[in-house]
């Protein structure tokens, strides 16, 4: 007869003398945290635990592991650019313990079998936790609803057409209405396709000087405003992804004041860079939505500061060299971001825009709340998904050192402050910074 596993048998890890950051409860104090097995057993000023492995955390911060609500992992379909495993390693190095992957794989995540495949691969790889969005429309084609009810029952955490907007207003209304039937989240890539057309950079002086086709900021706010009207008549939970413009942030601010069930996120390039980063046709700065004006960038920072922007997502978009070493117009949109998510977000803290706790909230409990995941908390009984980091350590981003298979980031060589020291998922250490 086998003996039952008791609490004493579980592996125990005690992290001692660390600055505990739990934005959910507002905790910001020095103390200890004990992990037993896969869960947090205790959070207190001083803990003693016999037989526990001890990690001295003096000078370091311990926060819930980052919840990155927008990544592309390229598996299945383009594993030469990224995979569940390489993306998982990049996440681990970035302090990300939970990821939500977009459905724009090949085949796309528009049926239950692909959702199940991804769940199985994530279990096999056992790095950061991976959740997947499913397509809102079949084949991401924007025409027919997917089996949202069945997909959600099988684990899809939200519905989106990924890097494509759901452009047709009637289809979007039905997507929202059908999603509302099952209380599901709809995530929009807010860019009015009939206005952005073949545009590739923000409309303005930069586009004009470079002679590149432009996307006006209005393309974003038109889609957001339209969707907000549809949310008002359907009541669906709606999330606008990677806001980049002042006008769109203002639209969400007003919608929240009206009590609409809407949330939004942005990504580091939209508060860390502006359109001048394109410089001399740098395709690594080609994003969708495009990098905007300095005025827009400041408005995004303000949106983050006042809570209009709920979350910061990496918007991780791995591309191989063949997709980026091309004339600007031919190059793919997007940059990798998992391994720079924390230090770039910490710039908001170091620059005095936000408190450390508020920055961490945008990276943990807030996206967890939007996705309704039991993540992003430092609380007894919560999953032991944690990131231990040094908030002040200075280093230079080096894309060569990225674990991601793809190196397409405009931040290579950028001096940053704040480095992940250790990443823990379900009590297992999945990453340790050497040195």
């Amino acid at each position: 007869m086998k003996g039952r596993i008791t609490a004493e048998d579980l592996p125990r890890l005690l992290i001692r003398g660390v600055r505990l950051l739990d934005p959910q409860s507002g905790l910001d104090a020095t103390g200890d945290l004990l992990i037993e097995g896969e869960r947090i057993a205790a959070v207190a000023g001083a803990l003693a635990a016999a037989d526990a492995q001890v990690v001295e955390g003096e000078g370091l911060c311990l926060a819930p592991g980052l919840v990155d609500m927008r990544v592309q992992l390229r598996e299945p379909g383009a594993e030469h650019m990224e995979s569940i495993e390489s993306g998982g390693r990049a996440a681990a190095a970035g302090g990300v313990t939970t990821m939500a992957a977009l459905p724009n794989t090949e085949p796309p995540v528009d049926n239950v079998s692909v959702v199940e495949f991804l769940a199985r691969r994530a279990r096999e790889v056992r790095l950061a936790k991976i959740h997947t969005y499913a397509a809102a429309t079949t084949g991401l084609a924007g025409k027919q609803l997917t089996e949202m009810g069945l997909l959600a029952a099988n684990g899809a955490i939200g519905f989106t057409d990924g890097v494509k907007a759901i452009g047709d207003a009637l289809i979007m209304r039905r997507v929202l209405s059908y999603a509302r039937t099952f209380d599901l989240l709809v995530v929009q890539h807010p860019q009015e396709p009939s206005l952005s057309g073949a545009g590739e950079v923000n409309e303005g002086e930069t586009a004009t000087r470079l002679g590149l086709a432009a996307i006006p900021p209005a393309a974003e706010v038109i889609m957001v405003e339209r969707d907000l009207r549809l949310v008002a008549i359907t009541g669906a939970r709606y999330h606008a992804a990677h806001l980049s413009t002042a006008v769109a942030v203002e639209a969400i601010r007003r919608a929240k004041a009206q009590g609409l069930p809407v949330t939004c996120d942005t990504a580091p390039p939209y508060f860390a860079l502006n359109e001048t980063a394109i410089g001399d046709y740098r395709t690594f700065a080609k994003l969708s939505p495009p990098l905007r004006s300095e005025w827009d960038r400041r408005a995004v920072v303000e949106g983050l500061r006042d809570g209009t922007v709920d979350a910061i997502a990496s918007d991780h978009a791995p591309w191989d060299q063949d997709s980026k070493r091309l004339p600007f117009s031919s190059a793919a949109f997007g940059i990798v971001g998992l391994e720079t998510l924390l230090p770039l977000s910490l710039e908001l803290y170091h620059n005095g825009h936000m408190s450390l706790l508020d920055v961490i909230a945008r990276l943990t409990c807030n996206p967890a709340r939007v996705l309704r995941l039991p993540a992003g908390r430092l609380a007894q009984g919560a999953p032991a998904d944690l990131v231990l980091f040094d908030p002040d350590r200075e280093w230079r981003v080096s894309t060569e050192e990225f674990r991601s298979k793809s190196k397409n980031a405009p931040f290579d060589g950028r001096p940053v402050r704040g480095r992940v020291v250790r990443t823990i998922v379900d009590g297992r250490t999945i990453f340790r910074q050497e040195g």
Binding site: K143, Q144, T146, G149, L150, R174, Y178, T181, T234
Partner: protein, 321 residues
């Protein structure tokens, strides 16, 4: 009101919808039809009440069941029944609805039975003719004889309509059957629920006096009658619902979902059924609980009652207004 006409006299020249009928008027249809159910089970079914009268079945939309039901009803009452499949004649030749109405009117019919794919078209036609018009279904608006036959089917099994809870499930948005049933059941004191995904519910449906549900378990809880609606095939594949598989999973009637209803709850469907889409075969064919075949039988009796009331009242000259 004219002397000698009892309270339950039918005060209308046409039967265009349930909306606007009084409980007494509805009762009169049901009581008269009830007698015809028995008559129709006898070997000798023919009456001569409407001998010499002309009924034209004028169907601008394909129909087999309803048209046949009206044809049988008219013939059993001794009328001359003519079927016009207008979909393949005048409309194709470009004649307007009003011109068609005038043409038919010139043939001196006593009753026109009209189905049309556009809501309100039957009423428009009725304004241009001198005879009685029965709406056999107009767009997504009304299908009054279906609601009457559903009501009689329920009344014969449950003994009443008052106080029953009826769940109408499925494509409420496009359904004329649902609209007529909501009006009738509310008029007769039943409680009505509608159950559907939000994509298949029209806005402010609650204003029609129903309670809306989006989950079959909650919507069917403790109901007496489960009324399923047909989902048109062009609405199954991603436009309103993603797939027949998902639709059946969440909204198709099977024993699992039926368990929420009262143990003696009965099942109805206006037909034709999509087995495995809105209803499972085991439920549809359950001889103890499914009223689906009874609905067809009672349909003929109800249409006989409708034709009799409209044609006779017309003949009596008591056809105000």
């Amino acid at each position: 009101m004219q002397a000698g006409v009892c309270d339950s006299a039918f005060r209308h020249r046409h039967l265009l919808g349930i909306e606007g009928l009084s409980p007494a008027e509805i009762e009169r249809f049901l009581d008269l039809a009830d007698g015809y159910v028995e008559l129709n089970r006898q070997a000798e079914k023919k009456r001569s009440l409407l001998r010499g009268r002309t009924i034209i079945n004028c169907f601008f939309e394909n129909s087999t069941r309803t048209r046949t039901s009206f044809e049988v009803a008219g013939k059993r009452l001794g009328a001359d029944v003519i079927n016009m499949a207008v979909a393949v004649s005048s409309m194709v030749k470009g004649e307007t609805l009003i011109d068609t109405a005038m043409t038919l009117n010139a043939m001196q019919p006593d009753v026109l039975v009209v189905r049309h794919p556009e809501s309100g078209a039957v009423q428009l036609l009725s304004e241009k003719v001198d005879c009685a018009v029965v709406n056999a279904g107009d767009g997504s608006h009304e299908h009054p004889t279906q609601a009457l036959l559903d009501a009689l089917t329920i009344r014969r099994r449950k003994g009443r309509l008052q106080g029953l809870t009826v769940a109408i499930c499925g494509d409420i948005l496009h359904s004329r059957v649902a609209r007529s049933n909501i009006a009738l059941l509310n008029t007769m004191g039943a409680r009505v629920r509608v159950v559907a995904p939000r994509t298949l519910l029209p806005a402010e449906i609650e204003r029609l006096g129903v309670e809306a549900f989006h989950d079959m378990g909650a919507g069917l809880a403790d109901v007496d009658i489960v009324m399923m609606l047909r989902l048109q095939s062009e609405r199954m594949h991603g436009s309103f619902v993603p797939s027949t598989r998902e639709y059946f999973h969440f909204y198709g009637l099977d024993y699992d979902k039926l368990r929420a209803a009262k143990p003696d709850a009965l099942i109805m469907h206006p037909g034709p059924m999509n087995r495995g889409v809105e209803i499972g075969s085991e439920v549809a064919d359950d001889i103890d609980r499914s009223l689906i075949r009874a609905q067809v039988e009672i349909g003929v009796a109800v249409r006989m009652a409708c034709l009799e009331i409209l044609a006779r009242d017309l003949g009596d000259g008591s056809s105000a207004p």
